[in-house]
Each structure stands twice: as C-alpha cells, then as structure tokens.
C-alpha cells in the first residue's frame, strides 16, 4: 500500500512559487476563449427582450436572413412564449463580421405584448401586486426554530430590533460569457469561458441532445467566473446551433450589457431581526424574518444568524421573485449577506451592554475547533491591527473627516473530492500530468505542477501540467473553493503510484528494494544515503519505449474541510459628503496545508478587494418603472480602481495537518461587514444597508443627529 501523505519537510509545498502561465498572460500570448480565432470563423449575436415581462407575439427573421454577410439565423423563443426579464434570449444571428452580426440582429423583428412586471422587492410584496410568477410572486420556506423564543427574550436585558439589508451585485467577469463552437460531422468542439469543462460537456450534450462522447470542451484560460460560469448557458447552445446551420465555426461572446443582464448576480438579502442580550453580554434569542430576491424564479437563501451562538432562535425566509435576470452562485454564495446582517447587529448589541465588539464576539462564539479559530484570530488580529487605539463609537476628532475601526468574522467549507488524474513518465525523463480541471485564475495549473514536482523530487520546469480539456481525466467545476482540495490529492496519488513503478525498475540496478528508495533533488536514491542512487534522467532510461502511464484519483486523508477567518477594517468618512474611504484591512484566514503561498495570498487579496467593491461601489440598479437595468455597463456600475485600494495585510494560518483546503471564497465574506462597522464607529450612525453609498451614509448621519437610531 503506497503512502500518499504529504511530505513532512516539503521542498516546494508552502513556498511562494510564481505562476507557470504568468509569462503567457503578461505578454498576451495566453489564448482565452475570446481570443480563439478559427479558420473560417464567423460571429454570433443574440437578440434579447427589451421588456422586463412580455409575451412574444411574433418573430420575423427574414430581414436578417437577407442582410449582408449573414450565414445563420435562429429563433430561440416560440411565439406565445413569455420573456421574464430584460435580456431574456429571444433569437440569434451569425454573420461574417461582428459588425455585420450586430447590424443583422437589429433587423430581426420581434413583436411583444408587454405584461405587468415586478421591478423591485417592494413591488413584488405589495398587496396589489400583479400575479407574475406561476405559483406566486413569493415562496416562503420552512421555519427553522430552536427553543422557546419568548423565554429567551425574557432573559434579555436589552433587545435590538431592526431591519438590515444587502443589495444585488453582478459578477462582472472581465471576459464575458461565451464560446467558440466548431462541428466536425456530429462532433462538437467548444472553447468555452467556463469554470467547469466537464459540467459544460454535460450541458452541451443535454441541451443539444447529443452524446457526451461527441462533445469536447476546452478552456485553457478564462477571464473570471466567480460562480457564474458552470454551464454552456443559452448562448452556448445557440452558438452550437448557429455553427451547425452556418457550417462554420462561430464565436459568440456576450457584450457587457448582456453580461450584466443575463449571467447571474448575487441575490439581495434583508431581514427584520429581533435579538436579545443579557446585561453581562450573553446572547439569548434571535428572531428573524428574512427575504431576498434572486430575480426571475431563482432562490435567495443565506445563512442567518451567522456564526455567533444564539441559544434560542427562529428564522423564516421568503424568496421574492422579480422580473430581473436570475441569480447564480457568487463567490461564497449567501455568506456575505448573512455575515453583514448578523455582524451589524452584533455591534449594536455590544453597544447596548457597553462591551468592546471584539470581547463581545469572543464571548458568544461556538466552541473552538480546527475549523473554528475565531477566538484566537480576534485576539491576534486586534493586537496586530492596533484595536486598542479604537475610540468609542463616534470619532471625537474635530473636522469633517472621521475615522473608525470595525471587525467581522466568517466561515466556509472548501472541501473537495472526486478528481482524477493521469501521469506519464517518459524514457527521456519528461513528465506530463493531466487533469480535466481548469484554472479560474487561482493558479490551478501551477499547483498541479507543484504537487507533481514535489512528489517526484524534480524542479517545476521538469513537469508539464495539462488541464482545461475534457480529453483529460475527470475533474469537477471550480466552485465552492473545492478545486485545490479536489485536484491536489488526485495529482499526489497518481504521481506516487507512477513513481513506485519507476522505483521498481531502478531498485535492482541499485541492489535495493523499491520501498527503500526516495526521489529527491532530481535523483532517485536510497533513503538516508544520497550517494547511492542515480540521476532522474538515467533512472528514466530504464523505462524503455512504453512510458510509465498511471491513472489515479482523489483519496481521503490529503484534504480537509472548513475554514474560519476574521477581518479588521479601518475607514474614514467625510461626514459632509458621505464619502467612505477604506484605509486599512487586516485579513486572517486559515487554509489547511498551503500549497502555493504566493497564489494563496493573491486569492485573499482578491477576496478583500471584491468585498470593498460590494461594500462601497457596486449596485445593480433597476428602474422601478420600466424594469430595466439603469447601469448595465462599467462606467455607472462602479468598481474600485487603484486609488480606492487600501493597505491590506494578509495573515494566512498554515495548518498542514489538516490537508489541503480551498480559500478562494472565504476572504471575501466578512470585509464589507467590517467596513460598515468601521463607518459606524467613525460616525456614530448605524448603516444597516449596503452599499455604503454617500447618500445613505449622509442619511444615516442625519437620522442619528435627529434623535438617534440606537
């Protein structure tokens, strides 16, 4: 039985390794789906509903069919069908240039009968709301109840009752969704901007009613997904159909407006919460009625209360449907929302009992565990951040610029399983490692090579990693922070088994047993006797013409699950303009065995910056009259630039004994809550709703001056 456990004294694992495809990305050589140019390729363009809700009366494709350069035209919706949101796909065209495809798309004549729509949660919940969705405009889930609520509130010395909310944001993948489809007879090759080549293969096969065996999906590079890119989607199926009709490869990449409207979003979340605390700062009871919208027919669940231990609690959630693009998983789905709603409440409760927010949180944590290290992180972080310099809420400094500090905690799963891999060791010493995973930007290609090189005792350059293709062994979609924990064990198991075969060939020439050999520093030698051995290349000469070729898969024991983290924020607020500027963030994150320190840190930086966007800038605005998105672009849909990025300190807690755990998502969960609490500490005004746009900050300050929100 081979021993797969991670090396106790690794040479590569845990060190800072620059990503292998960095040079390809910085030179523009890396070919993303958007960059695939096939011989004879033409361009697809979709026609989408301009209405938030309408019935399609008729679709006339003929003017487009006659337009210059047009090679294929299809109707996606049938007459009589309904469109449920602005951007709902209706028809499509392919032409020899992008410009002509756009011209032709405008010629497709679609007649609509507009129907009543719901542009907001308020409209959907109104007593006289039109019945838009079959089964109702809302759907209420089961009530989750533990203990006697009124007994819990009876024990409370203070009760906070308020409504908290977060907004809808969109993924804004810089590479829009889309693909290039090319048929060879009945076989489809699809270059897709996806975070799941295997899930996409299933999606194409199901959607086109062809065997999975006839579909190959390739994603060498992809420009961001954040949870929104697991399937071919409608545009993928349309692209394949256009390619079939035109008998030519078709590239169909969405434009920025389509990307905002129809490729997913983070649902809104709101809750009316009543929570009690004893005079010595113990939480007693939590009663929350929550709701949120995931758009047209999509759900909006999130965890609530988050992390802290309310011994008695009740929670009911209502999904509210509106006529807007359906939600998709977005970087730690549900958690940023549940975290915000709970963490603002926690600061309000701490104030009632006049406790420091850190001490108050520590008092109400669930028991410590390897995946629940909050108490330690709160303490360590407070010291590193200078929490002792935090003034009482309401910055006493003169002048309009007020500063403050806030804190927040989060958790995530990050377990992975199920990946398969293939390793070839050739007689010239070269090594190929194949795995049908994909690199969403976290550095998967690099950690595949790292694990193989570590196992084989070779430098990174001696290993060729091959990923992003359904021609390679199965791996799942890159979601839920599962990729590293799913892929690295598969690579480890497979390369250990391949190395064992090489040891069996080398052992007789060294007069040793295979189990006495190790691979280190580019040599295979006896354990404890580096002099008695051979160079890797010489060892591989024994392989002969038939390479060592091994398949393997994920096994238990090399990866773990569950992470915890704490973040501290410092922000300044101009109380005359309402503008919030984040000045410092400290993010503490546990992450099991760190594979590549450099790319792990990058994920933490990225998560924090994504959450600064969530807190301060992004907002999907839907016109309440027309039901149309007001800012489906990148000039009015705001994102941070270089000048908006604060000093960020990352403290990763390496816990090798827990195995590999993914951290792509957790660092983005708690930043926004910590910022909002910092704004509260700065101004003395509680802002219970994201984003922290200037008008809301000013309104909260006004309200606080007018008699207080606390």
């Amino acid at each position: 039985m081979a021993e797969y456990s991670w090396p106790e004294k690794p040479t590569l694992l845990g060190s800072a390794v620059t990503r292998l495809d960095g040079p390809d990305k910085v030179t523009g050589r890396a070919r993303y789906t958007y960059d695939i140019n096939r011989p004879g390729m033409i361009y697809g363009r979709m026609v989408r509903s301009p209405f938030a809700h309408a019935r399609v009366v008729s679709i006339d494709l003929s003017p487009a069919e006659k337009a210059p350069g047009v090679r294929a035209v299809i109707a996606w919706k049938e007459p009589g069908a309904q469109v449920m949101y602005q951007g709902d796909p209706v028809a499509a065209v392919a032409a020899d240039t992008e410009e002509r495809a756009r011209d032709a798309a405008r010629l497709i004549r679609v007649r609509y009968e507009p129907l009543p729509h719901l542009a907001s949660v308020e409209q959907a919940l109104a007593a006289d709301a039109p019945a838009v969705f079959p089964g109702g405009n809302t759907q209420t889930g089961a009530t989750d109840e533990t203990g006697d609520l009124e007994a819990g509130f009876a024990k409370a010395a203070h009760i906070v009752e308020a409504t908290y909310s977060t907004h809808v944001i969109t993924h804004v993948c810089l590479e829009t969704h889309g693909c290039v489809c090319e048929w060879d007879g009945d076989k489809l090759t699809a270059w897709v901007s996806t975070q799941g080549v295997y899930p996409c293969r299933i999606g194409f096969a199901d959607g086109l009613k062809i065997p999975q065996a006839n579909v190959r999906v390739i994603t060498q590079y992809m420009g961001g997904g954040f949870g929104s890119k697991f399937a071919p989607d409608v545009q993928g199926l349309i692209c394949a159909k256009l390619a079939q009709q035109a008998k030519a490869p078709v590239k169909l990449m969405l434009d920025r407006k389509e990307e905002h409207l129809d490729t997913g979003n983070r649902p809104s979340a709101a809750a009316h919460i009543r929570a009690g605390v004893t005079s010595d700062g113990m939480l007693t009871a939590f009663d929350g009625q929550s709701w949120g919208t995931g758009g047209a027919g999509a759900l909006s669940g999130f965890p609530l209360p988050y992390i802290y231990n309310f011994p008695i609690r009740k929670r009911t959630h209502k999904n509210v449907f509106i006529n807007a693009g359906p939600q998709r998983a977005m970087r730690a789905p549900g958690h940023p929302q549940g975290c915000f709603l709970t963490e603002i409440l926690m600061d309000e409760l701490a104030d009632r009992v006049k406790m420091d927010p850190v001490a108050f949180r520590i008092r109400n944590l669930p028991p410590a565990a390897p995946n629940a290290m909050w108490a330690e992180y709160f303490t360590r972080g407070a010291k590193a951040f200078g929490w002792d310099k935090r003034h009482a809420t309401g910055d006493p400094a003169p002048g309009p610029i007020k500063t403050g500090m806030g804190v927040s905690a989060h958790r995530w799963g990050g377990a992975g399983r199920g990946s398969q891999a293939h390793v070839d060791i050739m007689s010239d010493g070269s090594v190929v490692v194949k795995c049908g995973t994909q690199d969403i930007g976290t550095g998967t290609r690099t950690i595949v090579a790292m694990v193989a090189a570590e196992t084989l005792g070779l430098p990174m350059s001696a290993v060729k990693p091959e990923i992003g293709d359904t021609m390679y062994p199965f791996s799942g979609g890159s979601g839920g922070s599962t990729t590293a924990a799913s892929v690295t064990p598969a690579i480890r198991v497979t390369t250990v088994n391949a190395l064992d075969q090489l040891f069996a060939k080398v052992a007789p020439t060294l007069g040793a047993k295979p189990e006495d050999l190790v691979a280190q520093g580019g040599r295979i030698h006896l354990k404890g006797n580096a002099a008695k051995g051979v160079a890797w290349k010489d060892a591989c000469r024994l392989i002969g013409t038939e390479p060592i070729s091994v398949d393997g898969k994920w096994e238990d024991g090399l990866s773990g699950a569950g992470t915890s983290g704490v973040q501290f924020a410092e922000a300044s607020v101009d109380i005359e303009t309402g503008i919030v500027k984040v000045t410092r963030i400290l993010a503490i994150q546990d992450c099991g065995l760190i594979v590549d320190k450099l790319t792990a840190e990058s994920q933490a930086y990225g998560g924090v910056i994504a959450a600064i966007n969530f807190a301060l800038f992004e907002d999907r605005i839907i016109d309440r009259v027309t039901g149309q998105m007001v800012n489906p672009n990148m000039e009015w849909y705001l994102l941070a630039g270089m000048s908006d990025v604060p000093t960020i300190d990352i403290m990763l807690n390496n816990m090798p004994e827990r195995g590999v755990i993914g951290i792509g998502e957790p660092p983005t969960v708690s930043t926004a809550s910590a910022i909002a609490n910092a704004v509260r500490n700065a101004t003395g005004a509680t802002i219970r709703s994201l984003p922290l746009h200037p008008h809301k900050v000013l309104a909260a300050i006004e309200q606080q001056r007018a008699g207080g929100t606390n």
Binding site: R19, V26, D35, C173, T442, S643
Partner: protein, 188 residues
Amino acid sequence: MKSAGVTSLATAVTAAGAAETEAQTGPRVVGPGDVPVTLMVNGKRVELRIEPRVTLLDAIRNRADLTGNKRVCDRGTCGACTVMVDGRTVYACSTLAIEVQGKQIRTVEGLSTGNALHPVQQAFCDVDALMCGFCTPGFVVATVAVLEKHPNATREQISRGLDGNVCRCGTFVRIMEAAMKAKGVARG
C-alpha cells in the same frame, strides 16, 4: 473609482492624406463598405480592408490576430484594451482604426523581445500581479506607459496612471508592488 467619459464614435471619418481634397471639396467620405487601412503595429505594417467604423481594438484582434489586448467594457472605462499610440495610452475600444493610420501603435505583444520579458512584465510575474489575467495586458501597457513618462514615479503617480484600468480578481495590491519593483525602487 472609474468614471471616464465616453468618447463619441460618431465623428466624420477622413481618410489619411485627404487634406488636399478637403480644401477643395470638404472631407472625402469613405465607406461605408470595406476600405484599405494601413496600421503600424509594433513596428510592422498591417494592411487591412475594413469598414471605417471598425475600432482599433477589433481591427487588431479580429483582423490581425493580435489578441493580447482585450475587449471588456467596450466603451472606454476599464482599460483592458489599453495600447500606446505615438507613446500615449489610448483605449483601443474607443479609437477607430482608420484614425490612427500613420501612427506608431504599441500593443502588449510589442513589449517583449523574443522570450525576454519587459521589466514590467517580469515584475508582474515575480510578485503575482495577476490572477485570471484578462485585465493584465491592459495593466502592463498602462504601467509601461506611466513608467516611461515618470521613470522615477511615486506611488501616487503610478496610482493615477493606473486608475483607468479595472481588475475584477483584485490584483491591485500586487500590481502596485510590481510597478514599484519595475522602476527599481525597493519593495515596501
């Protein structure tokens, strides 16, 4: 935060060398069909036949297969299409190809020589100033431009120079680190 204005593309288009004709009969109208357009990209002549409405970005990406610079916002906001024209950064998505004939165009592909990376590209790799990499070509060009303009740039100058670019993965901290490293200043 980004709030760049949108350049109107609806300007009358004049073919290069049409100044004489213009003096007599007003601007010569070209198009709307394909017209010959010659670009100097990374020191090489690129001869194209394209409609006058084709942007510089689409011309180099779709017609010359120079796909390094990306289309992201497509209206002069995000900087993924940043190229240099006669030494100045422009948003190639909001520049017509026909307008930059006779000018020196530098794309991300024109920065490295053979396998040797430009110092800015090397610094991006060294400090991991990229993740998915889709914004990276634009950031690299913008960083090269700011350091060519201010060889001893301060953090503030770099920040200003890069504020026209957006990264969604959140690599800003390390982009700043890369820019500071590339200009030869010790890392902070």
